[in-house]
Amino acid sequence: MGDPREGAVRISPVWQFVLRAFAWLPLCFAAWYFAADWYARPLGWIARFLVSLDGQGLVTSLEFGNRVIVFVTRLEIHEGVRTGVLTPEVSALVYTFGLPLFLALMLASKASWRRILLGVAVLLPFEAWSVAFDALTQIAIRSGFEVTVRSGYSAWGREVLALGYQLGALIFPTVAPIITWGFLERRFIAEKLAGSVSS
């Protein structure tokens, strides 16, 4: 009897890992979408804390609904005879699409649930940064001259907000999940994927 594995196609550990990640990705996207209303809560709370660090007390409360975080501010806006308060809204999905990617990578590398939860906790502040700076730029830059003036931000302060927003929109959502996975699964990468110890 010959070896049944003889003639079988051997897939490298990297591609085995990639195939597993692709298999998990649709399931993780579905779970992320349906859990977004719950996930928005801690995300919003941390984002509100980050916004409050500017010391101006612009945000008075948060509202949640339909996968959206609403920042209720004390800034009044006037439209004709009507008066209201500025309520910038940030989608709970736009800056968290890296979460399903992170989950798929962790499941593909067969990480423990403890590590997965630790990774989710590590990602939350980065995602909250993106949400916070989106809300702040809506308040201090994108809501018109009158609101910009009353927000209390100087020209220099608005530059800082714009930079924070760029970082939160372009870099953190894509890079943070990959770095977090790479850090938590560094042993898996070295032993299984790099092929330096065994393959």
Partner: protein
């Protein structure tokens, strides 16, 4: 590992700062126009109805257009890949080979992304939104990770031999 992580963050920060600076933007704008032209060229090969103006790709029949903005031109993905390869301990020849192949892989997939979004947008706005904001973003980063892992395995095995 710690040395790689520190070097990766430093290179990433430096490249990102350069991208946002006026000279960086002066390089990114023509690059984005080039990406738009290449996307329009690919679409013309499929059904011959696309035209590029600056960073916009439009359908000459329906008038539908997509604008290629920051985050959609593949520059950030290239920056992450470059940082990963420059920070990893490898010879300059290996780094150069990895960067050339990696940038090609990222940009080819990015062209597929833009062309697919161009058609998705004309078919279903909600499918376009999902693909644009969530799915393709994750797939491009997964592409970067795959390229880096394959390259890193090649470098490590070459070193072992």
């Amino acid at each position: 590992m710690a040395r790689f992580a520190v070097a990766f963050c430093l290179v990433l920060g430096a490249l990102f700062a350069f991208e946002l600076s006026p000279p960086g933007q002066a390089a990114v704008r023509p690059w984005t126009s080039l990406v738009a032209s290449a996307s329009a060229g690919m679409i013309r090969e499929i059904d011959g109805t696309a035209r590029a103006y600056g960073n916009t790709v439009s359908d000459t029949k329906t008038g539908f257009a997509v604008s290629i903005e920051a985050g959609c031109n593949g520059v950030e993905a290239m920056i992450v890949l470059l940082a990963g390869m420059l920070a990893f301990p490898a010879s300059w020849r290996q780094k150069l080979a990895g960067i050339v192949v990696g940038v090609l892989a990222v940009q080819l997939l990015n062209l597929v992304r833009i062309v697919s979004l161009f058609y998705l947008g004309q078919w279903s706005p909600s499918a376009f939104e999902w693909a644009h904001l969530y799915v393709w973003q994750a797939l491009i980063m997964l592409d970067v990770l795959i390229v880096w892992l394959v390259w890193m395995r090649w470098v490590t095995r070459a070193k072992a031999q």
